[in-house]
Amino acid sequence: MSQKPPEIPVLELSGIAKQFGGTHALRGVNLRLFSGEVHALMGQNGAGKSTLIKVLTGVHPADAGEFRLSGQAIHAETPIAAQNLGISTVYQEVNLCANLSVAENIYAGRYPRHGAAKLWSIDWSRMQADARDLLKRLNLDIDVGQPLDRYSVAVQQMVAIARGLSISAKVLILDEPTSSLDDDEVERLFAVLRQLRDDGLAILFVTHFLDQVYALCDRITVLRNGELVGEYPAAQLGHSALISAMVGREMDATAGAVARPPNSVGAQANALLQLDGIARRGHVKPLQLSIHAGEVVGLGGLLGSGRTELARLIFGLDRSDSGSVHLRGEKVQIDSPAKAIRLGIGLCPEDRKADGIIAELSVRENIALALQARQGLWPALSKARQTELAAHYVKTLGIKTASVETPIGQLSGGNQQKAVLARWLATTPCLLILDEPTRGVDIAAKQEIMNEILALADQGMAVLFISSEMEEVVRVSNRIVVLRDRAKVGELPAGSDDHAVYALIAGTA
């Protein structure tokens, strides 16, 4: 759908530079957005995508560089100023107020008022009517009076976009809008975005999903290590060329795509972990599951199928109402994470920010935390030992950080994820549960994480792997357990393709 760009870009950034402390987050970056295009901003974790967006939207002022809106030089020094100039952003984490209604969220801060001077009380009925009309443009017909948290993440995403549009945006920035959507929802979102594009909006789209880039985008700007690699028409930049541009070296997109063989040793030996009829009302229906040492068991299923809930049950975050758990043949009662960790189980949580990182603590402290918690208050790991441990994982997992003393919150998402993984590896668990370990992680880091997991499985660690990306589940698992509507609907051997998994999920197998 590549159209000939008009002469003047609706938004043009040139020579943007931004420094945090001693780190150059951005150096000499240019970006051109034309109206009526979807433009992909690509790059690995830490390439500077998020920083560029924050500069663009006035969250961080740029140290150097020029902004032009339809040819006019502008200054967007605050988010409000950027909004008033017609630049709207939908962030990775939907930042709306879950307890307010859909309509209130869309018009927050700009409620329509009664009276000629717009000084009287809030005109609720007009606000609701406007919100309904706006959402209709996005093919969404919902009750706008309901609190936002009644709706799925996908709908919330649409509401965030509607909010952006209601400010009569010229430029819409979408930061990883699809990372928590399922395929259908992605398709619906794309239909809306295409329509908005055809209406003349300029859309900047940030994602890690390469297929989505090609399905939607007209042009691509690639960043690497805070610098501009280039601006390409999507049609002229092939898959592998794009990846090479992002990582700076030749790379085979399908590397490591060899399915793992069934774990022959594990299948015969006694199960490491055996769940019998374990259940929790409203979360997981009674199910059987066994995991053997050295085995990677994939959990397939859609969002809300009970994957995360099952992980929480095993890890003792929630208590089960019924059923029994055997670890190495012994009956165990796991009623707290501390207990689970003592038994050698680790859980990399789905929501890295809320449940994973401890943002203001250093990378060193974050990595040492679970091991220290297992040992209790005494003896404390010496600082030297912690540093050694952290340095080891920084090296083996390729965590990009200025030093092990850097607060983990300053790292990019993928590197935070690696550090959380390191926290668990440091406890040398016998079973590691990974809930979406590669979400929001770039392709190179993703592969490094997966390779590390597989290497550990080869050394005898059992892994329960949860991911929304079915190809990934299929690729790494010795066995795939499929969940639907909070119940187990079947198991598939290694080598099954993702269609078989989807067939089971759909109930047509």
Binding site: F315, L317, S336, P337, A338, A340, I341, R342, L347, P349, A354, D355, G356, I357, I358, A359, E360, L361, E365, A368, L369, A370, Q372, A373, R374, Q375, G376, L377, W378, P379, A380, L381, R423
Partner: protein, 344 residues
């Protein structure tokens, strides 16, 4: 130089020095130390002595705040502890064969033990309400803040209980090696606590809980247990402070002992550079914060501010100090002074 400029204790120490300098200017005898009655005597010693109870309470409060909590019942716990100790000691002067001796109602160690035990139970109550039942810390401790004064008055029967037992007075009035004994108690608790947070993993766990309780729990930190212990410890420090205060004034007043001390303690912790949002904390900072408050109070009395406006003066000084400690405000000030003046 840069290390000094970025040191978290820089501003608290500067503030304290500033207040001391102001004191010295207004009162030329401020730094004068005399050796009298076998101990040091002077304004500075007086400040140290009076600051000891607040230092203790601030230490306990620091840990509570570091876990994202707050304990506004410490003043009430001070009163309860003081009342229990005073009541159990009571005491009379008995002259036996011409030799005067003091007799307490119960043995002093038992009385002190009971007072501290009651204080710890108060702290446990707070901790359980917060960590197990899940009440908001300010609400949970508000219960004891209100009820605690009632309990203290119940213990004392609504009267001021006077103590007639000389050995008990040592804690709040005695001197060791020429310095107030109460100061040694505060420093001993500080040293113990410092060792506990730096030589065990307690410091790491408390910070982790304060910054992200859910992630800390997931990493295996026994978040609830540690929270309960921290509140219990805060109760204990308030209990010790109660003993020192009642020993100092040789009586216990259930209605007024430790009145508004919770606010001074929170202020001391904040002045010391610990954020009320939890996480990183500074024990030494809180000690300095307590000294700042006591030094300020002494200044206000010594320069003869009329009593009816002394709270206003105190509040104004605290306001300025807080502004100066805010990095945000310093930046703004810097911009005003250096940027606005330059021609645009």
């Amino acid at each position: 130089m840069r290390r000094i400029r970025n040191h978290p204790l820089l501003w608290p120490v500067l503030t304290l020095l500033l207040i001391l300098v102001v004191n010295a200017t207004l009162n030329p005898g401020f730094w004068k130390l005399q050796w009298r009655d076998g101990h040091l005597y002077g304004s500075v010693i007086d400040i140290l002595n009076r600051a000891a109870p607040l230092m203790l309470v601030s230490l306990g409060m620091t840990l509570v705040i570091a876990t994202r909590g707050i304990d506004i019942s410490v003043g009430a716990v001070v009163a309860i502890s003081a009342s229990v100790a005073a009541l159990m000691i009571g005491g009379t002067l008995v002259i036996h064969d011409g030799v005067p001796s003091y007799v307490s109602r119960y043995p002093m160690p038992l009385a002190i033990g009971c007072a501290l035990l009651v204080a710890v139970v108060c702290g446990l109550w707070n901790g359980l309400l917060v960590a197990k039942i899940g009440l908001q810390p300010i609400i949970a401790t508000l219960i004891l803040m209100v009820a605690g004064r009632g309990i203290a008055q119940l213990v004392t029967g609504g009267q001021i209980v006077t103590v007639y037992y000389a050995p008990y007075f040592y804690m709040g009035n005695g001197y060791l090696w020429g310095l107030p004994f109460a100061l040694f108690i505060a420093l001993a608790v500080y040293v113990l606590l410092y060792c506990a947070v730096s030589h065990t993993a307690l410091g790491l766990f408390i910070q982790a809980i304060g910054i992200n309780p859910s992630a800390a729990r997931l990493a295996g930190v026994k978040q609830r247990l540690i929270s309960v212990c921290v509140y219990a410890f805060c109760g204990l420090t308030a209990g010790i402070a109660g003993l020192i205060i009642s020993s100092n004034v040789k009586s216990a007043d259930g209605n007024n002992a430790g009145n508004l001390m919770e606010l001074d303690a929170i202020l001391a912790v904040t002045l010391g550079g610990t954020l009320l949002t939890g996480g990183r904390f500074s024990l030494a900072g809180s000690l300095i914060g307590a000294l700042i408050i006591q030094a300020l109070t002494s200044t206000i009395y010594s320069i003869g501010v009329p009593p009816e406006i002394n709270l206003v003066v105190k509040a104004s000084v605290v306001f300025v100090v807080m502004l100066m400690q805010s990095a945000e405000f310093r930046r703004t000030l810097h911009t005003w002074v250096f940027v606005r003046r330059s021609p645009l």
